[in-house]
């Protein structure tokens, strides 16, 4: 059985000019795999991630035929039950650590708080666990980092701390929203290895939201390509470079390439018809 099963997900925001649908009828399943969602900013990929955790605030609305986590309907859970899901069953690593870490709380305290909230462990055990997690995300001098504030950290360290914090509860599903776009390549490799290991060894399901096509093609198992709130194409990640949809092709061609230099880069021309296409199903 799949970990997550989403059917016909819609996210709607009322605006002065009528309703705006950020996500329009997206369906997919997630097993113990690395599922990539790619698209440009505004394509609805982050909104899809947030909608799964029911993090869309009113007046925004999340609707779906169903959205099941291991058979349990997420849309019918009370807010209290959702608290047991968020951070424990499904964790989310957001784009920018600057806005995700509490600026006036020491890093150690933030990790310990999450761990104790979800497991009820003692302070000492939680401290040891937090240090262990920081080590797992390749942070040196963990004891010092535990006592530091977020502003004392670089962006890369902040993001690794976020990941450590999200993985400390050993969630079933990790939604990673551009987890490495603020990171350097060598740190990026380490972070990806950590997530890769969790998928392979612990059977975690990973939703990897990214705009980086090369990264998704090489890292994920399956890819959903989103445009204007819909899935326009799905494929095996290693076949991404053979994708058919003109939007996907346009994105691929607009990347500068080291192996194929060209004077000018192709610029994506958007076909208004893409807006009207129905969403492709990402179910397996």
């Amino acid at each position: 059985m799949s970990l997550l099963d989403v059917e016909n997900l819609c996210v709607t925001f009322p605006t002065r000019r009528g309703e705006f649908q950020a996500v329009r009828g997206v369906s997919f399943t997630l097993g113990q795999e690395r599922l990539g969602i790619v698209g440009e900013s505004g394509s609805g990929k982050s909104m899809t991630g947030r909608a799964i955790l029911r993090l869309i605030r009113p007046p925004g609305r999340v609707e779906a035929d169903h959205m099941r986590l291991e058979g349990r309907e997420l849309l019918q859970m009370s807010e209290k039950e959702m608290q047991g899901v968020r951070g424990q069953k499904i964790s989310m690593v957001m784009q920018d650590p600057k806005f995700s870490l509490n600026p006036v709380m020491k890093i150690g305290e933030q990790i310990i708080e999450i761990y104790r909230f979800h497991t009820g462990a003692g302070r000492k055990a939680a401290w040891a666990k937090a240090v262990e997690m920081l080590e797992a995300v390749s942070i040196r001098d963990q004891e010092r980092v535990m006592r530091a504030y977020p502003h004392e950290m670089s962006g890369g360290m902040g993001q690794r701390i976020m990941i450590a914090m999200m993985l400390v509860t050993e969630p079933k599903i990790l939604i990673a929203d551009e987890p490495t776009s603020a990171l350097d390549v060598s740190v990026q490799t380490q972070v990806l290895q950590i997530m890769d290991r969790l998928v392979r060894e612990r059977g975690m399901g990973l939703i990897f939201i990214s705009h980086d096509l090369n990264l998704v093609a090489s890292f994920c198992d399956r890819v959903l390509i989103m445009y204007a709130g819909r899935i326009v194409e799905t494929c095996e990640a290693d076949k991404l470079h053979e994708a058919q949809h003109p939007y996907t092709r346009g994105l691929l061609n607009s990347l500068p390439r080291l192996d194929e230099p060209s004077e000018r880069l192709d610029v994506l021309t958007r076909d208004p018809a893409w807006m009207e296409e129905t969403s492709v199903s990402g179910r397996v």
């Binding site: 090489s218 890292f219 994105l251 990347l255 500068p256």
Partner: protein, 254 residues
């Protein structure tokens, strides 16, 4: 002729036990009319070199020249700022949120002592591919790519010969990045500008630049031409590591 020369440049922050050496012994030069890339990870000192050049990082030693003129301290003559301009990474942060495009460009032109401001604003917008309808908009009314075009227009306003580009497209979507990179390539050709570009994206640097310096921990570990980079003919293991990582995720790599 070399447009920019850096010789044994050291830049540091703080004093005594708090001293951090951000750049140590950087030596390279950028030929006039060419494009030079500085690549490396965050904290490797690549942006600091740009900041030292324009006087934003005050503690430095060594030698820096711009068009033969030797720089001292952190104050720069007015002519320097006409000649050297910078485009910053984040167009969301580098434009004043309460000023229209017209005000941003107008102020820059006024500061540099131009009189035919109205005509120049029109030309600048045209040069960066923005229609006249953008002139009286605020930054929040235009997209990220358009904002970066405004930032480029602002940098071009005093008619510089050198543009310092600090990760000019890293905040943009790939399709928009392609547009901005094409614009930068065109502008360089039209105006024979010299670019000193900082980026962590080797593919972008490979597309834009003729020569590249790879930085690690404040030091330049390798200087190489783009042809060598494309052919993966690199000497330093760190450069190889960066190149391999730029292709995508490789699980075998540690």
């Amino acid at each position: 002729m070399s447009s920019l020369e850096f010789e044994n440049l050291n830049v540091w922050f703080g004093d005594g036990p708090d001293r951090v050496d951000a750049v140590t012994g950087a030596t390279f030069d950028v030929e006039s009319g060419t494009s030079f890339g500085l690549v490396g990870e965050s904290g490797s000192g690549k942006s600091t070199i740009l900041r030292a050049l324009v006087g934003l990082a005050r503690n430095w030693s060594g030698r820096m020249t711009v068009g033969g003129l030797e720089l001292r301290g952190y104050k720069r003559p007015r002519a320097f700022y006409r000649d050297v301009q910078m485009v910053f990474q984040d167009p969301y942060a580098s434009l004043h949120p309460r000023q229209t495009v017209d005000a941003v460009l107008g102020e820059t032109l006024k500061l540099h002592g131009f009189s035919d401001i109205d005509r120049r604003i029109k030309t600048l917008l045209d040069d960066v591919g923005l229609g006249p309808e953008f002139r009286f908009r605020y930054p929040h009314q235009i997209s990220g790519g358009q904002r970066q075009r405004v930032a480029i227009a602002r940098a071009l306003a005093p008619e510089p010969s050198v543009l310092l580009l600090d990760e000019p497209t890293s905040a943009l979507d790939v399709s928009v990045q392609a547009e901005v990179l094409n614009l930068l390539v065109d502008l360089r050709k039209e105006r024979s500008l010299t670019y000193l570009m900082v980026s962590h994206d080797l593919a972008v640097v490979g597309h834009m630049c003729e020569r590249v310096a790879v930085m690690q921990d404040g030091e330049i570990v390798e200087l190489l031409g783009v042809a060598e980079m494309r052919a993966m003919e690199v000497k330093h293991p760190y450069t190889r590591h960066l190149l391999e990582a730029s292709v995508g995720y490789n699980p075998r790599e540690a």
